[in-house]
Subunit: 131 residues, 2 copies
DNA sequence: CTTGACCTTCCCATGATGGGAAGGAACATA
DNA sequence: TATGTTCCTTCCCATCATGGGAAGGTCAAG
């Protein structure tokens, strides 16, 4: 298990083969080495990169953020402040979206509570939408 | 203010002119009446429909859900149970997304708390991503 | 009659992901 | 070795809601 093709690298990293090709296409990953038959081949370091991306995605980072995170990761001269700033900006975005969705959910739950949910047509949910 | 062109209807409803055309194109709205010059023209009922859509979007409903909500709204034979079901399904989706984003935010905040955020390169955020 | 603000249609972009086609390559088993 | 299965390659298209912008027609006010 030293040299992997794209399917094996996908298995090993949790990133789909489709996405590995995509990340390469947009320059998030360097162009992979190729076998004689033009298959992409991946070594341990490549898989490490892929895992990094996978974890960052699972924390909700956008690909452009991940591009920066990868650069910081590779750069031994980075300051932890740069990383922290990126992370906290992302947290702020998440919290903004969470708050917006919570407002929606609360409003809808409130309306639904007052909806009989039976055979009759009267419904405060529609009434609210129609105003 | 009885007969409006698309820009005025947009103003009056909160839905952009661009989106009004789009909703018509995908059949969410009936084809608008046209003036001699082929301009779309909107009456009070059309604006009412647009406001309905605008409010539903602001509660996070997807357009396909709104298509159903509009049908229920128009249908005097509807049961409030149908509306409530749609609404609660949407609440469930929202809450699922909220929970996922909260997990991300919590994980990141935890990592950021342990990141010095100074000039030094050491950073638990990157360490976690690199594992 | 010109000018500026509006309208029309049409095409393209976003962001991350996947589906699927057409054709070549690798490999396992009969 | 022949054949079949599974993998790879590239390329195009779809999602979802929204907007940007071009090219050209229309309208109202000065």
């Amino acid at each position: 298990m030293e040299i992997l093709n794209i399917g094996e690298a996908a298995q090993a990293s949790g990133v789909s083969a489709k996405m590995i090709r995509h990340y390469e296409a947009i320059g998030l990953l360097p162009r992979a080495q190729r076998s004689n038959a033009n298959y992409r081949i991946y070594g341990p370091q490549d898989v490490h990169n892929l895992r990094f991306i996978h974890r960052a995605r699972s924390l909700g980072f956008r690909l452009e953020d991940i591009r920066e995170l990868l650069a910081l990761w590779r750069n031994r001269q980075r300051s932890s402040a740069q990383v922290k700033k990126l992370a906290l900006a992302h947290v702020a975005e998440l919290e903004e979206k969470i708050a917006a969705m919570q407002e929606m959910a609360e409003a809808l739950k409130h309306l639904a509570q007052h909806c009989h949910g039976d055979d009759r047509p009267d419904c405060p949910i529609l009434e609210q939408l129609a105003d």
